[in-house]
């Protein structure tokens, strides 16, 4: 396509079936079903909820919208006591959860990529949380009791929390600087949650690791590179584009997970207080926040991503 732009003469000849034309036809035909579905079931509802965000919604026979400008947004920021603190809390949690998920899943993917006995079975086990967490247990409300019971069992058997508590108290007694250490403790306390939400990320990293050709490692070895150097000079750059994919996926997954406090608040505003306008305004604010975060993060990371070829 670019070549054609540089050579306007060729364009004037009006070839009936240029490459770009054929590409475009194939492109639109193949995407058409998806686009139709997307417009109908996502974009149309999305626009309607945007309209609701700027209106008072009333049910008088049908649905009536009364345009009220930014009143809904003013309400959620100034009157609603819960929304802003919940959102900030969620943001803070994200800051330490996402890097932990990325590091953890990258580490596990590297381990799973090694040669060892029973690799198939172990990989299957590491994919289990995806099945267990995405809906099956959450879908049935009764299973909240099950999950709660499970958490108790974990606390009972692993004692992860109490161990960090002991170490923490030692550090506090020494009067040590807690800043970065606190971060580690927070992550350790949540190690189970982090492990549970890393399933997809592990698979994405794993598939990326497997596409690195073995000849690269061989070449590095012949040149006398150590395992440490090979990791940072070959493995890491080769999967760096997947780090971006995984970060974006994790951020989205984190913000729209079903036990999210902000989401619950939005849902309660809609179902319990029947304030569709306000709840839509909240959803759009939340959405805008996530979009801004992802834009910043991906701009930051994509500069450092290394693309082979």
């Amino acid at each position: 396509m670019d070549k054609e732009k540089n050579q306007p003469r060729q364009r004037k000849q009006k070839k009936p079936k240029s490459m770009a034309y054929r590409n475009a036809v194939a492109g639109y035909l193949f995407t058409a079903p998806f686009i139709i579905g997307f417009l109908l079931f996502l974009l149309v509802p999305l626009m309607q909820s945007l309209r609701m965000a700027f209106s008072t919604v009333k049910f008088e026979g049908g649905i009536a919208y009364y345009f009220i400008k930014f009143a809904n947004f003013k309400y959620i920021f100034t009157v609603d006591a819960e929304f802003v603190p919940l959102m900030l809390d969620e943001l803070w949690q994200m800051i330490y959860t996402i890097p932990s998920i990325i590091v953890f899943s990258f580490f596990i993917a590297i381990v799973l990529n090694q040669e060892f006995k029973g690799r198939g079975l172990v990989r299957a086990i590491f994919f289990l949380p995806v099945i267990l967490s995405s809906g099956v247990l959450v879908g049935l409300e009764t299973n909240n009791t099950l999950m709660q019971g499970l958490k108790d069992v974990i606390a009972e058997t692993s004692n992860a929390t109490s161990i960090t508590d002991v170490v923490k108290s030692i550090f506090f007694a020494e009067g040590a600087y807690m800043g970065p250490i606190q971060y580690v403790f927070d992550a350790v306390d949540r190690v189970y949650d982090i492990a549970m939400s890393s399933g997809i990320q592990i698979i994405i990293f794993l598939s990326g690791l497997q596409t690195i050709s073995a000849s690269m490692f061989e070449a590095a070895k012949i040149e006398g590179a150590t395992a440490w150097e090979t990791f940072w000079k070959i493995t890491f750059p080769m999967v760096s584009s997947l780090i971006l994919v995984n970060v974006i996926y994790s951020i989205i997954d984190f913000f729209v997970r079903s036990d999210n406090e902000v989401m619950n608040h939005i849902k309660d505003t809609m179902t319990a207080s029947v304030e569709y306008g306000r709840s839509s305004a909240m959803a759009w604010t939340y959405f805008a926040m996530i979009a801004v975060i992802i834009a910043i993060v991906s701009a930051f990371i994509s500069k450092r991503v290394y693309y082979y070829d």
Binding site: G27, T31, F38, F127, P129, S134, V136, G139, T211, V245
Partner: protein, 286 residues
């Protein structure tokens, strides 16, 4: 000893030990929920209410399942009807989702056409939106289409789920352009390339996608769009059974969890070797 023979030459015995230790610790974490769900289903009532709860069942019983089957027999509509509904929705929805999203992913990753990139950006952005808020607008769309109280209200939106397009496109981008160009030189048309070259190459990805779609549809309660009892789904019916009798049905609830878990789990076990199979062996590696 066979482990030692297979070992890569650049990993020490301590390295082996380290790998196994890491796998043991985290593998345990990952398998715990499943173990707990299975064990709970076989626990008698007094063990379910034990505090602090125990992971392993000490006196396994089938009572929970017996109770569940008795309750299943008492539903309004024959219980098999709920099962059929869910199976139908899951199968049709998953196949459609696979086809629609992989077709779109194929052209978006391998063809350049005006608007393609912008469209993908919009789809990924839509992933971030709070789904609950769209319940009402979605209902309005369904009413306009006349799809309220039909299977289509659940099946068709599943076709265009953004997550499938997102994941599929990531995988398709790894297919070398050379392969597709070679097919074109040999005279293959787009549809043929898609079915004969691209789809076989992304088999692991399509199985991964199927897992998500199956999980999503298998668990759908569909209480928003479907009011006709005969069209309601299995999770809905099961949750009605469980919520019917409060605490006394905690045992049944544990059995229900296992019951509903078993199908996605079986599919996963069946598909896992291909899902996590090396992309290298499928010819994608350059």
């Amino acid at each position: 000893m066979s482990i030692l023979k297979k070992r890569k030459p650049n990993r020490s015995r301590w390295g082996d030990l380290f790998v196994y230790l890491v796998l043991l610790i985290f593998g345990w974490f990952f398998i715990l929920p499943l173990l707990y769900a299975v064990n709970s289903a076989f626990k008698p009532l007094d063990e379910i209410f034990l505090f602090p709860p125990r992971l392993w069942v000490s006196k396994p019983t089938l009572d929970n399942f017996a109770d569940l089957f008795v309750l299943m027999g008492k539903t309004w509509v024959p219980f098999t009807r709920y099962i059929f509904n869910t199976v139908f929705i899951t199968v049709v929805g998953t196949l459609g989702h696979l086809l629609v999203s992989s077709m779109a992913a194929y052209v978006l990753s391998k063809y350049k056409f005006p608007g393609g990139k912008a469209f993908f950006t919009i789809v990924v952005t839509a992933l971030m939106f709070t789904p609950q808020v769209m319940a009402i607008p979605n209902y309005l769309v369904m009413t306009k289409l006349g799809w309220v109280n039909t299977y289509w209200s659940i099946i068709v939106p599943a076709f265009a789920a953004p997550i499938g397009l997102f994941l599929m496109k990531q995988f398709m981008e790894q297919i070398p352009d050379v392969l597709i160009e070679a097919a074109k030189v040999d005279g293959a048309k787009e549809v043929r390339i898609y079915f004969r070259i691209v789809m076989p190459l992304v088999k692991p990805a399509s199985l991964t996608l199927s897992i998500f779609s199956i999980l999503n549809l298998w668990n759908t309660r569909a209480s928003n769009f479907i009011y006709n009892e005969e069209l309601k789904t299995l999770p809905y019916a099961l949750s009605q059974i469980v919520s019917g009798g409060q605490i006394a049905r905690a045992g049944v609830s544990a059995a229900v969890t296992l019951f509903i878990l078993i199908v996605p789990l079986l599919f996963f076990i069946f598909a896992q070797s291909s899902i996590i199979e090396t992309m290298a062996s499928s010819g994608i590696k350059e």
